[in-house]
């Protein structure tokens, strides 16, 4: 009896997920649970709210309604794969898993299924080489741009000379955290600084020994590749050992409000990289208020607007929507396929005027994508936390990173991938 009801329930459940192809489908592989939820929630809210705005204000994109299917991954790769498999049949146009681990799983699948993958500021850095990674995009910036931007910022602060200085990298001991090491090693040879590596294991609440080492060795600068609870813990530990906050620079994933607010006034001066605007002082927020928030339609609790990661989710959705428009223009159809979406992403060009027209002036760097370069120019800004005002301040413009070093590394790493997986170079 019990077994019968269970099987019946399973059957109903299996039937309930029959595909519907009518809309433009954007799966959101989000994580609202687990140790990374504090960072996963605002991104997912921003991502979905932007599509809600497009549906309510413009009637979708090019006349087609956008549909976001949310699937909870908990930042876990196995669940991420399950989410991919369960949503790809519904006409998914582009995947943005917001996890480097899941990205590594999805790269070969995306190539096999022809569904593009947009890993904005995360994922496999060498995917910037579009000749090899045909369906993977990581514009506008990637980890190696980030690593170089940290060093460039240090060069700025030290009038161009950091010879003999010491830099400690505190990183999440995973594919994500290990990404910048190779670039930082190259840069340390080039600029003559010393690099110390301090891995922190998942989920990152236990960092006493790492910070004890920092306290003992007193590196001039500390940079961090952290995510989830690891960020706030690290900043708290830094405050505990009275490490000067202005010498502590996080990657863009370690620079949201959720990471610094728990530390309070002691987090003042902490710096983090970014590749888009901060705050809610953009015309698009008026539209969001009018069409989404005021109708009680905001995703989640609706309390995330204007935060760094909410903005980033919105930015990711905006880039996806713009790529759809490009694809619709190229192929002259409104209901595009994932393959056409890929072409749209490859033809994407973000200019100042375009962002202004969207109500997001100066929100991100202007860049263009090409068949060879899926990574954009890698323009990165530095933000600083103001604990009194409780807000992030953008203290530099979007500046270039050291593409000589990064370009060579991208070619090397993508060539290794191509050889391992027997991928032919495209774009000739």
């Amino acid at each position: 009896m019990k077994l019968k009801t269970l099987t019946a329930m399973a059957l109903v459940a299996a039937m309930g997920t029959t595909p519907a192809f009518a809309d433009l489908v954007f799966p959101s592989l989000s994580y609202r649970t687990g140790p990374y939820a504090a960072n996963g929630i605002p991104f997912a809210d921003g991502y979905e709210d932007y599509f809600k705005l497009l549906n309510a204000r413009d009637g979708g994109i090019g006349g087609e309604m956008a549909k976001v299917i949310e699937c909870e991954t908990g930042y876990n790769t196995e669940k991420g794969v399950e989410c991919y498999e369960s949503t790809k049949g519904e006409g998914a146009l582009v995947y943005q898993p917001l996890s480097t681990g899941i990205t590594y799983q999805l790269i070969p699948k995306s190539a096999a299924d022809g569904i593009p993958l947009h890993t904005m500021g995360y994922g496999r850095t060498s995917a910037a080489n579009g000749k090899i990674f045909n369906t993977v995009f990581n514009y506008p910036a990637n980890y190696w741009n980030g690593a170089s931007a940290v060093v460039n910022h240090l060069l700025d602060v030290n009038d161009g000379d950091i010879k003999g200085k010491t830099l400690a990298l505190v990183y999440h001991n995973s594919a994500y955290g290990k990404e910048p090491i190779r670039t930082l090693e190259e840069l340390s040879k080039k600029h003559g600084f010393e690099l110390t590596l301090l891995p922190v294991d998942h989920p990152g609440q236990e960092q006493k020994s790492q910070w004890l080492q920092i306290r003992r060795e007193k590196p001039d600068y500390v940079t961090m590749w952290g995510w989830g609870v690891m960020n706030a813990t690290a900043i708290q530990e830094a405050a505990n050992i009275r490490y000067p906050m202005e010498n502590f620079i996080g990657i863009w994933w370690s620079g949201s409000e959720n990471d610094v607010k728990p530390v309070g006034a002691k987090a003042d001066g902490y710096k983090a990289l970014n590749f888009h605007g901060v705050g809610d002082d953009y015309p698009i927020y008026d539209d969001l208020e009018k069409y989404v928030y005021s109708k009680g339609d905001a995703t989640g609790a609706g309390d995330q607007k204007g935060t760094i990661l909410y903005n980033r989710g919105m930015y990711a959705a905006m880039l996806a929507a713009e790529a759809v428009k490009e694809a619709q223009k190229i192929h002259d159809v409104s209901a595009i396929t994932p393959q056409q979406m890929r072409d749209g992403m490859e033809a994407l060009e973000m200019t100042e005027d375009r962002m202004e027209a969207l109500g997001m002036p100066n929100f991100g760097p202007s860049f263009s994508v090409s068949c060879e370069n899926h990574g954009g120019p890698g323009l990165v800004s530095v933000n600083q936390w103001d604990a009194d005002a409780e807000e992030w301040k953008q203290i530099t413009d979007f500046t270039e990173s050291d593409m000589d070093v990064i370009g060579a590394l991208v070619d090397e790493d993508s060539a290794a991938y191509a050889e391992e997986n027997k991928v032919e170079e495209a774009c000739s």
């Binding site: 609202r32 790769t77 794969v81």
Partner: protein
């Protein structure tokens, strides 16, 4: 009525000692096998393979492995995740070092390497028991994960520290890599599961299995009647690790394709497999399958039901999923401490008497 021994006469010792003594059971078993081999490959799609069947088959192997050690030999192990990692990394090193080596041999050799590592970490079991052994195997778990993170040789010095399965074929069909098809990977895992389960079942019925069970029930008594504890415990560790290593190799090469040791083979994996055999039933091969099916299917079913059918927010559904799985584990432990296998046994007992229970 049809499910009983009456009238099912055995005329040879061989027939008398078979696994399924009841005619109906035997045929049910063949029908299930025929269905799994001949029907499922034609109706399977990517979602069913990736979300349900592959994890079910692979975790079944891991559960059989742990059940041999914990259920049959009574040695508690919390190092399953670490041993699975050994299997995965051994498979990866074999695949990349010997590109011409067939994937079947890679998987089997990965199992053998894990068996050796398992025997090594099983040595303390000769001196310590119970909780103390559990802690020793826990140390193996953390040490192995740390090792694969620390020593770059294991992941071929890749920048990300991840291992990626290159493409390998068997009889021209792709088994690993990106462009595999669901029926092929499913059949590959199914064939391994069937062979390994049959071997495990017969091992546990034979001399070796009886010596394990003697050690489990009372090791001093077993020693007095002539069971060599060294041999029994170390074979249990070795064979158990062989199975777990194969499960780890399949999990990496066939199911996931890319693996990061800390996340995939962490302590949670050890607990997951342990829950499987506890819920399924200690000391039962059927229990391994039942437990694996329970732990793999329940979250997926709940998710489809709550999010897919009822349209609930994903975070509430996930939290509820955790609570329900946890609650089910507690309920099972209280109401049926011997697991699903015991439930199955009771059903069979009742069926033999049905419809005349008195």
């Amino acid at each position: 009525m049809i499910y009983r021994e009456v009238g099912d006469f055995k005329t040879t010792y061989r027939a008398d000692g078979q696994t399924f003594p009841i005619w109906f059971d035997r045929w049910r078993y063949y029908v299930v096998l025929a269905f799994a081999f001949c029907v499922v490959p034609f109706i399977i799609n990517d979602y069913w393979a990736q979300a349900v069947l592959l994890p079910f088959l692979i975790y079944s192997i891991a559960a059989i492995g742990l059940n041999i050690l914990t259920g049959y030999c009574g040695q508690v192990s919390l190092g399953t995740g670490g041993f699975m990692a050994v299997g995965a990394y051994a498979c990866y090193k074999l695949m990349t070092s010997f590109p011409d080596l067939n994937i079947v041999f890679c998987v089997l050799l990965a199992g053998l390497i894990t068996a050796m590592v398992g025997i090594l970490f099983g040595l303390p079991s000769l001196r310590i028991k119970g909780f103390y052994l559990a802690v020793a195997t826990l140390a193996a778990q953390f040490f192995l994960v740390w090792l694969f993170n620390k020593v770059a040789w294991f992941y071929n010095y890749s920048a990300s520290g991840q291992i990626n399965a290159p493409e390998r074929t068997l009889f021209g069909y792709k088994i690993t890599g990106a462009e595999t098809s669901a029926p092929v990977t499913y059949l590959f895992c199914l064939a391994l599961v069937v062979v390994l389960a049959v071997i495990a079942r017969n091992l546990t019925r034979g001399h070796l299995g009886r010596s394990w069970m003697a050690i489990r029930d009372m090791d001093i008594a077993a020693e007095i009647i002539g069971v060599n504890p060294l041999k029994a415990k170390l074979t249990a560790f070795g064979i158990s690790s062989f199975y777990i290593g194969i499960a780890g190799a399949l999990l990496f090469a066939v199911y996931l394709g890319a693996v990061e040791v800390g996340e995939v083979f962490g302590i949670l994996k050890s607990f997951l497999v342990l829950f499987m055999i506890i819920i399924g039933g200690l000391g039962s091969i059927f229990g391994c399958f039942a437990g694996a099916a329970f732990m793999v299917l329940l979250p997926v079913t709940l998710k489809n039901l709550l999010v897919g059918t009822l349209g609930w927010p994903t975070d509430i559904a996930t939290h509820l999923e955790f609570s329900i799985v946890g609650l089910m584990i507690i309920v099972f432990l209280i109401l049926e401490p011997h697991g699903l296998a015991q439930l199955w046994r009771i059903i069979k007992e009742k069926l033999r008497l049905w419809p005349f229970p008195h």
